[in-house]
Symmetry: C2
Subunit: 388 residues, 2 copies
């Protein structure tokens, strides 16, 4: 966020994690505008902070976002909701703003109450340490990490006719990357001047084409929250489509960072379906393949096992004739017309972290990609040896 | 099949597997009746032997079933279909029956042509070695194994008013256990007298309540085939409902053997949903939980992580109020009314291979169970280190 005027942030250690790692981030909108939009998990067991933040953002304004790792505050009932509410109130008191303008985001183990006193003490320190520099942005990105191995940040500058507009974001999420939204706490910030409606439209467009296409392990979190904050400090109101394109690029960058750091992954896998009758059908096919444990373990083993890909395509309702379907892996058409194509030994999966699977349905002009990763021993280890 | 009069079988080694393990089984219906029914994968990339066998069984009669491991003969085009056809013809010649009454089933790697000459040489030997004893039934069960660690057989006797009727079966399938049908080659045999319609009805009832409820890794095979052969040798035509109940019990036995030997599994997991508004909704919820890699890795780690269970329930469209949902693991209600229940440390997952997850939706009287297993290092190892 360092390049975005009108915003400040910080990260600190409240002591929510047994490891003693940083666990609390705060983002403050200084203005002059305080436009906000957010998209949330579609999980019906939405966490307490999601229930709270949905209300906060419904008027299109936010003054601050409090984010904690070390506990999801999900399935925690009225006590959990009170904790989210109290967190917003405490931030509001320290910052001289209204609690109803403070979003709260949490991530960590589901089904445990947060140690609220620790959180509030940490929050008070955070409120006294806000700044707009790179170090503070980095600290915020670090404080929301769970099983992430690296903090995720991105930024870009849009050159508009009126001048430059800046966008930046922080993100976390390496497990429970999901269908609706890769798990995720994401805060996106801009100094553009946006009204709430334009912010909402741009955010929905951008997330649909980025985080919604990242599917690491098919599991949808109870806590996913992607927030866009616009300070208006640039004084520039960019063309809505141009802004949405920029925001989409920013979100793509962050989504690919999430997939690139997914739990235990050794390959980033792009599952592209082309020749589909509709974009929805292309997505259905790509998602079915991206979710197959057999495909994902084969890629971990550097095995271009296209039969496992076709058998997933065969479970979908997309329009195609089996005898017209081609599958390429890293450019080698191992399956042609639903049958044996090039020799599978021509495919080298060991040489590069990135794998591109392309499925041509030969049924229309539409295409779509889902980004996923392989299924490895390290994924099993991380998710069996530790509660998260 | 040893206890089923009017049938004979055998297993042999045709040399289709690099390991040199047995790979070819043959089941012969001696009669006096030759009633047959079968259910097949719903995968749209159905393998050549599935396409062939669908036609064969459509008249309700079969005289023999040839089954091979060591190659799926799937995605092999016209050459693959010709191989399945030629296999049936060869069996028919040796046995003095019609090729149109010989089913063919294959399992193994997708996308490779079968070494047909080896297969046909093995088949000729098999045709000369048919018998109705236990040793031959065991040999047949062994010859269809792929990554199975043990052969699967089951048998039961129905005491009807007219006398005893016998049922027996062999099954294979330890990976690609599927939504529609756990992967599978299964041959069920009975000495009951059944007309084709009753055989079909009984088989559909039995598989819907057994193999369709086994979901090891969510992947649907191109080759699943479950065949019922009825010789009529007992001379008894049992009550249709009574027979269907017996057949269901036999199929349950085999399905649980499949789950119990699923690739790399260290726990058998029964995901039971109760209090559902409909059986379909109960199944939807159980299946969503059974397919979650995060739930499955947690169980491997002996971690009663109920948050991962609830978050899957939250992705379904089943009727329920989140604040009324209970979750028990091995009888301990770790989540009560959508919130923290009993202490999760009370759940012991290390002591027993079997884990029972019960989700109470508090929305109606219906229930259903899905049988699955955990996700382990050995699953990743088996599916990454070897093409299958």
């Amino acid at each position: 966020m360092e390049t975005v005027a009108g915003l400040a942030c910080t990260g600190t250690t409240a002591g929510l994690k047994a490891s003693g790692a940083p666990d609390l981030a705060l983002v403050r909108v200084l203005g002059p505008e305080h436009t906000a939009a957010a998209v949330f998990t579609r999980n019906r067991f939405a966490a307490a902070p999601v229930l709270w933040s949905r209300e906060v953002v419904s008027d299109g304004r936010a003054d601050a976002v409090v984010l904690n790792s070390g506990g999801a505050n999900a399935c925690t009932g009225p006590e959990g909701f009170a904790a989210a509410h109290r967190t917003a109130e405490a931030a509001a008191e320290h910052l001289g703003i209204a609690a109803g303008d403070v979003l709260v985001c949490s991530t960590g183990l589901i089904g445990e109450q947060l140690p609220l006193e620790k959180l509030l003490a940490g929050l008070e320190r955070a409120c006294g340490d806000l700044a707009s520099d790179e170090a503070h942005a980095r600290a915020a990105a670090r404080a929301i990490m769970t099983t992430d191995t690296v903090p995720k940040q991105a930024g870009l500058t849009l050159a508009t006719e009126q001048g430059e507009v800046h966008l930046a974001g922080i993100a976390k999420g390496a497990g429970m990357l999901a269908p609706g939204l890769a798990t995720m706490l994401v805060v996106l910030a801009t100094d553009a001047s946006l009204d709430p409606e334009r912010a909402e439209t741009a955010l929905r467009t951008a997330t649909a084409l980025s985080f919604d296409r990242a599917d690491s392990d098919g599991c949808m979190s109870t806590n996913d929250t992607v927030t866009l904050l616009a300070s208006g400090a640039s004084g520039i109101a960019p063309d809505p489509e141009e802004f949405a394109r920029g925001l989409t690029a920013l979100c793509e960058d962050l989504a690919l960072q999430l997939i690139g750091d997914a739990e235990g992954a050794s390959h980033d896998v792009h599952v592209r379906t082309v020749g589909a009758a509709s974009e929805a059908q292309a997505l259905e096919v790509s998602r079915a393949v991206a979710r197959s444990n057999l495909v994902k373990t084969a890629i971990f083993g550097n095995d271009p096992n296209w039969g496992r890909i076709l058998s997933e395509v065969g479970t979908t309702a997309a329009e195609y004739e089996p005898e017209h379907v081609d599958v390429s892996i890293n450019g080698v058409m191992v399956c042609r017309a639903g049958m044996i194509g090039e020799d599978r030994s021509l495919v080298d999966l060991a040489g590069d972290r990135r794998v591109v699977i392309e499925i041509d349905l030969a049924a229309g002009p539409e295409s779509a990609v889902i980004w996923t990763n392989d299924l490895t021993h390290d994924y099993v280890e991380e998710n069996s040896a530790y509660s998260s």
